[in-house]
């Protein structure tokens, strides 16, 4: 029930507040990671939590990602709900084996005897002028792995709710946070408002000429593109996918059947990115509704470049609009 009492929060604050609520609600919730305690995390997402919940629940870990995720597996087997912070996207790879071979498969291997209620938070994406390994988008690698659920938040209010829902989920969740958005925009949060389900995509702008699919950092890009397109008399529908595995395709199909044109945009590399799966599913389900092929605006198939040219690598408003034009002219 909405009370009308709102507060203005950033994405960082939304996540911080969401983590706090989850820890208040369930004493089994633990936070683990590098610098998550006293420092409050390099992005300050866990700011103040160790002070209030103690060192046993907000655990500064040794600097070893496989160790963090591997010990979180053991804590989960003991009945805890670990929320793991991977400091940067590019540092998740040392933990890749534990995530893919253990976290993802434990429930299956054990015939459901052993649950893995774990959240692995990964600040992802670029645009912060960082050095190598600090701007990556590894989501497809996890969405490709059965046993994991993968979600990406795009705004402060979603950050607040989705992190709590992910923690409450009994399956392991890879939780992607667009780091460029952490401190960017503010939104009104009403903590008493009923949240949307975690594994649901959402139409964030209605339109009729083409559908733009985005998640995480590119939602903002897509919305800006839609605004610019509107000035030119083109009506774009924007969908924030929010969940990448499972995909919530019903709102997508519904939209595509109305618009007949789709542009998918993500920062992750084009080749075998989420756009490829989305294009395949859309062509299977909406073949006769399509007026043009599904087009993709993605990071190029090069290693993430040096930061002085990263904006050339990242999908931006103009590249999205260019793809929209190509779809409309097809």
């Amino acid at each position: 029930m909405a009370t009308g009492q709102t507060q203005k929060i950033t994405l960082a604050k939304g996540l911080n507040l969401g983590l706090r609520r989850a820890m208040e609600a369930d004493p089994k919730v633990l936070i683990m990671g590098e610098d998550v305690g006293k420092l409050g995390g390099v992005f300050r997402i866990t700011d103040g939590l160790q002070k209030d919940f103690g060192e046993d629940r907000v655990i500064d870990s040794p600097l070893a990602e496989s160790g963090i995720v591997g010990t979180a597996v053991g804590l989960a087997l003991r009945g805890y709900r670990p929320v793991v912070e991977i400091q940067f996207d590019g540092f998740v790879y040392p933990a890749y084996d534990q995530i893919v071979c253990q976290v993802a498969k434990m429930h299956y291997r054990s015939h459901g005897h052993s649950k893995m209620p774990m959240v692995i938070r990964i600040p992802f994406g670029g645009g912060i002028g960082a050095v190598e390994h600090h701007s990556e988008s590894p989501e497809a690698q996890f969405a490709h792995t059965p046993g994991l659920k993968v979600v990406a938040c795009s705004n402060p209010v979603d950050g607040y709710w989705m992190i709590q829902q992910a923690i409450a989920c009994d399956d392991p969740v890879i939780f992607l946070e667009p780091k460029r958005q952490y401190h960017a925009d503010k939104a009104d949060l009403d903590e008493h408002e009923a949240p949307e389900p975690l594994f649901a995509s959402r139409v964030v702008r209605q339109g009729s000429d083409a559908t733009v699919l985005a998640y995480g950092p590119t939602v903002k890009t897509a919305l800006k593109a839609a605004e610019a397109a509107a000035d030119e008399g083109k009506s774009l529908e924007v969908i924030d996918l929010r969940t990448l595995s499972p995909l919530d395709m019903a709102p997508v199909y519904d939209s595509v059947r109305r618009t007949g044109r789709v542009v998918v945009t993500h920062e992750a590399h084009l080749n075998l990115g989420m756009g490829a799966e989305l294009a395949a599913r859309i062509s299977e389900e909406c073949f006769y509704s399509l007026e043009s092929p599904v087009l993709r605006v993605a990071g190029f198939d090069v290693p993430y470049p040096a930061s002085r040219i990263e904006e050339e690598f990242l999908p931006d408003l103009d590249r999205v609009l260019d793809a929209v034009d190509r779809a409309l002219e097809y």
Partner: protein
């Protein structure tokens, strides 16, 4: 600028790369002589000793029976433990019910100690499942195939034990230790080394039990380590000890002490059980390609079961009739495994879709239904 080499004095500058000559804790020699040890001495009742013998004989039978089942095509593969019975029974019998074990895929003797029907072990090797027991019921985790991954799980579980206040209370039924099993090959893995670091950092109640059976498939221990493995512990900040892994008495005594140390809240211990892999790595391996039969013959003289039998007989603790009784029990167990294994049904095709998630996704449900509908198009299909 001229280079002023240190020459032969360099070793003095840096000190030795190894602490001291390795010591081996032993309470029963290969010849069946009972020894005493200043730190790890232990009084065993006749019943304890007969129990160890029975456990080892039955464990060996599980192993030989499963190996035979593989040869007959009933199992796809089997990981043999031949020669490691004492290490596993000693480690397994030192546990208290509340302790929790994280095994590799070769801990058939420890599984036996935890009360798991050995038939359940065969499912994984027959290819009908990936593990079929509930770890919560037996406090024995599922077999882990990725080398060393479970060392971190054990450490994390032990961190959970700490948070549950189940360490150092003085209540023998509450204080809990966790065992991470691994082998000499795994000691090279990052996960094992990270587990050492986490366990030391948090003083987690975990015992790292390394069965050094000298071989990681074809690679000898010398390829994994320049120093005795137990000496590595010191570098991580906790004690390590090497025990004769073919001596069930010593393994039990050392493990009991290490587990008690963990339960009391004194942190982790590395126990290196020095043993030998008498069989192949698995039934698909051919050790004649990489090791000398001389070596195997030498280790035959150190057989864990033979030395205990000598001791038991010499001291009048067992007679022929009792030993024959154990052998008969082993025959029954063999029969149980043979018949049970052959009767194990293949899983139904659609069961592959089960338990991927706790809360199944709509898209997976649709995939299952799609495949079911496809199977239905075949005449006589009864999936």
């Amino acid at each position: 600028m001229a280079y002023h080499g240190f020459g032969p004095d360099l070793e003095e500058v840096f000190g030795p790369a190894q602490h001291e000559a390795p010591e081996l804790v032993q309470l029963l020699t290969p010849e069946g002589e009972r020894l005493h040890h200043p730190q790890f001495d232990h009084e065993f009742s006749a019943e304890d000793l007969r129990g160890f013998f029975r456990d080892m004989v039955l464990t060996r039978r599980i192993d030989t029976e499963a190996t035979a089942l593989q040869r007959h095509g009933e199992l796809g593969i089997w990981a043999q433990l031949l020669g490691q019975e004492a290490a596993q029974i000693g480690a397994g019998r030192a546990l208290r019910p509340q302790d929790f074990v994280f095994p590799t895929y070769r801990e058939h003797g420890v599984a036996w100690c935890r009360g798991i029907d050995p038939l359940n072990l065969l499912g994984l090797f027959r290819g009908v499942d990936h593990g079929s027991w509930d770890p919560k019921e037996s406090n024995f985790g599922l077999y882990t195939i990725v080398i060393g991954a479970q060392a971190l799980h054990a450490t994390g579980y032990a961190m959970g034990v700490q948070r549950d206040g189940a360490v150092g209370t003085g209540d023998p039924d509450r204080d809990t230790a966790v065992v991470a099993h691994f082998g000499d090959g795994a000691s090279s893995q990052g996960d094992v080394n990270e587990a050492f670091i986490f366990a030391a950092s948090y003083q987690a109640p975990v015992v790292f039990f390394c069965q050094n059976n000298q071989w990681a498939i074809s690679e000898p221990i010398e390829r994994q380590s320049r120093i005795p493995l137990y000496q590595r512990a010191l570098g991580f900040g906790f004690p390590g000890v090497r025990v004769d892994g073919n001596d069930v008495l010593a393994t039990y005594a050392v493990m009991q002490a290490a587990l008690q140390r963990a339960r009391e809240g004194q942190g982790p211990t590395l126990v290196e059980a020095y043993t030998y892999r008498m069989g192949a790595h698995t039934t698909t391996d051919d050790p004649t390609r990489y090791r000398l039969s001389d070596d195997v013959e030498r280790w035959k003289l150190k057989d864990p079961i033979a030395r205990l039998e000598v001791y038991l007989r010499r001291n009048g603790l067992v007679d022929d009739e009792w030993v024959a009784g154990v052998r008969a029990e082993a025959d029954e167990l063999g029969h149980h495994l043979r018949e049970g294994c052959k009767a194990m049904p293949d899983p139904t095709p659609l069961s592959m879709f089960d338990h991927v998630y706790d809360e199944e996704t709509e898209e997976l449900r649709a995939e299952r239904e799609g495949y079911a509908a496809y199977l239905d198009t075949f005449e006589g299909s009864h999936h």
